[in-house]
């Protein structure tokens, strides 16, 4: 930690940084309003797949960068799970060295264009910004600026491939090509390892591809970042399920020294209420996978999806918002969120809730489903809901929803998407008898090194956390890469 602080201090004292700090009075910087993210018209975007946020124009990015005070103690960085040198990249934007800004991002974050779009900055870097904690003003728009720099670099066609150490010819395997796996793969490639990423699906990207919709994270952006990793020497194998297609032992025989498991929170949860298996009732994973990964809404593609007119999405997280907004785009007249607590307790990002409301999504907060009913073909056509009120806080610290007796009523629905969380995918734990898992099925790891009970196996992301964010998964991937590096180097020394 000390080294990092010293490094930051040294970086900050460089001439260009000192100069740019002096170029404008702090008062002038703090008197500026935070920029607004330009957005597509809600009534246009809710009928298409166009990206909702269109990105900052250059002049606004520079203006926003000028708000950053380049604090001697950059508290914003404490809120970043991957440790981006935030003031440095922002000051690069201020001096209009946008490609330089992108390079700074990529020192510690392999997917800046992704994180600039989907990270909950309001509870991370921006929540610990000097503006937020001391000035009580809107924070510097770190997320918008991250996206700006990454987009600028991509659109310039001058993508910088991060420096990779000379190959040490040591093979390491990454299980899963989602954010955790990609972050680990990127760092291990930089250390010089021979990295292979194994992906069960036919496409690389994990939740970035099958889960997050096009209107929030266009697939082309994910592909560009993956291409960049290929240029760093990372190998990808699709249609390969570690533990099934080949066992860990098979791969060890093939020379793999260590593994990182970032297999995600594969198993969707249902509520186990009557009628939940009627047709037209999906998990959010299935609904989003059909639309995002399989392009089911495009008639040229073979995968079908049901485009309902009255769609109820159960849950209040980001995945619920993605599902309900997808339903609207597939032509729903009524696309509703049914959530058992109030908006205040919703786990979804504030921005997603705001966007959903603008797009004509109905919110039935403090409501809970009790039962589904179907027509003679087994297709859902109605559901029974109960009203709720908030009681005392529960284990999560949020106020517990309590049913209001006698408040049950019925609504017509033809499609229901259940988005009440996921459980860890059991494939990997089933494949390894010695692997220590929790009662929930998540893999037990050392918090610092991400090493599991099997020494050569490290893990991170949702398979450890049980359901979190892209950026926390990436943070785990980076930590695990460092842990694996240390483990392998020590093993070499010992022999």
């Amino acid at each position: 930690m000390e080294n990092i602080l010293e490094y930051l201090k040294e970086e900050r004292s460089q001439e260009w940084r000192a100069e740019i700090r002096k170029s404008m009075k702090a008062k002038e910087r703090t008197s500026r309003e935070r920029v607004k993210m330009p957005e597509e018209d809600p009534n246009v975007r809710n009928k298409s797949n166009i990206e909702v946020n269109s990105g900052l124009p250059i002049e606004n990015a520079v203006l926003e960068a000028q708000r950053c005070l380049d604090c001697p103690d950059p508290t914003c960085m404490t809120g970043c799970p991957v440790g981006i040198n935030i003031p440095k990249f922002i000051k690069k934007i201020e001096v209009k060295d946008f490609l330089g800004a992108a390079s700074v991002l990529k020192e510690t974050n392999g997917l800046p264009a992704v994180c600039g779009r989907v990270c909950p900055q309001e509870v991370q870097c921006e929540s610990t910004c000097f503006y937020t904690i001391k000035l009580k003003k809107p924070p510097v728009a770190i997320g918008y600026l991250e996206r700006f720099a990454a987009d600028y670099e991509r659109e310039s066609g001058k993508m910088n491939v991060p420096h990779v150490a000379d190959s040490n010819k040591i093979k390491v395997g990454i299980v899963g090509s989602g954010p955790a796996g990609l972050a680990a793969a990127g760092d291990l490639a930089k250390f010089g390892y021979d990295v292979t990423v194994f992906e069960a699906l036919h496409e690389i990207g994990g939740v970035l591809k099958y889960g997050i919709p096009e209107f929030r994270l266009p697939n082309v952006i994910v592909d560009v970042e993956i291409d960049n990793m290929k240029k760093m020497g990372v190998k990808f194998r699709t249609n390969f399920i570690v533990g099934k297609t080949a066992s860990f032992d098979d791969l060890k025989k093939d020379g793999f020294e260590a593994f990182f498991v970032g297999s995600g929170a594969g198993l969707p949860r249902f509520m186990n209420i009557p009628g939940e298996n009627y047709n037209g009732i999906f998990s959010s994973n299935e609904y989003l996978t059909r639309v995002n990964l399989m392009n089911a809404a495009d008639p040229d593609y073979d995968t079908p999806v049901i485009s309902g007119k009255n769609v109820a999405v159960i849950g209040g997280g980001n995945t619920a918002m993605d599902s309900v907004r997808t339903a609207k785009r597939l032509g729903a007249d009524r696309a509703m969120i049914i959530y058992r607590r109030s908006e205040k307790e919703m786990p979804a990002r504030v921005e997603e809730i705001k966007h959903a409301k603008e797009e004509d999504i109905e919110f039935m907060n403090l409501h809970n489903p009790l039962e589904y009913y179907a027509d003679e073909n087994g297709r859902v056509n109605r559901m029974k809901i109960q009203k709720m009120e908030l009681g005392e806080p529960d284990a999560s610290g949020r106020r517990r929803p309590v049913p209001i007796q006698g408040s049950e009523f019925y609504i017509d629905v033809d499609t229901v998407v259940v988005s009440v969380g996921v459980s860890p995918n059991p494939l990997i734990p089933k494949a390894l008898a010695d692997l220590k898992v929790t009662d929930w099925g998540t893999i037990v790891v050392d918090k610092e090194t991400m090493q599991s009970s099997i020494p050569e196996l490290f893990a991170g992301g949702d398979i450890v956390r049980g359901g979190a964010t892209v950026i926390l998964a990436m943070g785990d991937g980076r930590k695990a890469a460092a842990g694996m590096h240390k483990y392998i180097q020590e093993k070499i020394k010992a022999n």
Binding site: T245, L267, S283, E286
Partner: protein, 278 residues
């Protein structure tokens, strides 16, 4: 990518394909399935592996044309590539010595039954196999089944081959005649439903291998969920084999029809383009 190495036409709508898939061939066990996808715009469908040759690195699939994807697959020729093949998926059949095993296969369900018949025979069981189909030309893999069965009974709906009658009639006959310790049934959901009802009468433990709609096949989406003993299970990771007496086949049948309208429409569109091409 997996290249098609051999193709054999079993009947108008049923073909056998041998695919180059060395990794899957090495690790697959009886009961396992693969997910395949054809072309960039294809859908993912599950197919149970009929047999495999680890030395040659091949797996064998028996496919019946029922929709767009199975139609495209059946139309591929030797030398063509299947874009995506992933597996082996699911839990393998639990094979052990139990005594007498009654295996019943309906239609193309006979194909995934073959490795199970072979497995039980090699484990030292007496294996009686019933092959059922609508008519003679739809009876497949008879010779291979005879190799691993102590007895093979053929049942056809129209009596064009073997005995006339449904699979359940053949099962009744065996059960009346001798002690059966275990039964395995694979075929259309409706056939498995009645096969399970038959063995339930005699309290014979029965496994059914379910072939539901799937997307990823790794537990991620839940499209394949079925009720087993009143609890929701995922066919892809908890199955594909379940205690047949606990499976809610009516729910399964309804769920198999979830996309009936879209499938029909897509199939008609596909047939039209197929016609214009040929």
């Amino acid at each position: 990518m997996s290249k098609i190495l051999e193709k054999e036409i079993f009947s108008k709508n049923v073909v056998k394909l041998v695919l180059d898939a060395p990794e899957i061939a090495r690790t697959r066990k009886p009961g396992h399935f693969v997910i395949i996808k054809i072309g960039k715009k294809g859908e993912r469908i599950p197919l149970t592996i009929a047999s495999a040759d680890a030395k040659k690195g091949t797996i064998t699939l028996v496919v019946q044309k029922v929709g767009v994807t199975s139609g495209k697959l059946c139309n591929l020729e030797v030398g063509d590539e299947v874009t995506d093949v992933v597996g082996p998926l699911g839990e393998a059949t639990h094979i052990e010595k139990v005594g007498t095993v009654l295996c019943a296969g309906g239609g193309v369900g006979v194909a995934p039954l073959l490795p199970i018949v072979e497995g039980f025979k090699k484990a030292g069981n007496r294996v009686i196999t019933i092959l059922a189909a609508r008519s003679k030309d739809l009876i497949i893999l008879e010779e291979q089944m005879r190799e691993f069965s102590d007895e093979v009974i053929i049942m056809t709906d129209d009596g064009s081959y073997g005995k006339k009658g449904l699979v359940t009639a053949g099962m009744e006959e065996v059960i009346q005649r001798e002690k059966v310790n275990l039964s395995v049934v694979i075929g259309p959901a409706i056939m498995m439903k009645f096969a399970a009802l038959t063995t339930k009468k005699y309290n014979i433990k029965t496994y059914a291998s379910l072939n539901t709609i799937m997307v990823d096949g790794t537990g991620m989406c839940g499209a394949c969920r079925v009720s087993v003993g009143g609890r929701t299970k995922f066919v892809c990771v908890d199955g594909p084999e379940f205690d047949a007496h606990q499976v809610d086949f009516d729910e399964m049948l309804a769920r198999l029809g979830a996309y009936k309208d879209q499938e029909l429409e897509a199939y008609e569109r596909y047939m039209k383009t197929a016609e214009t091409v040929s």
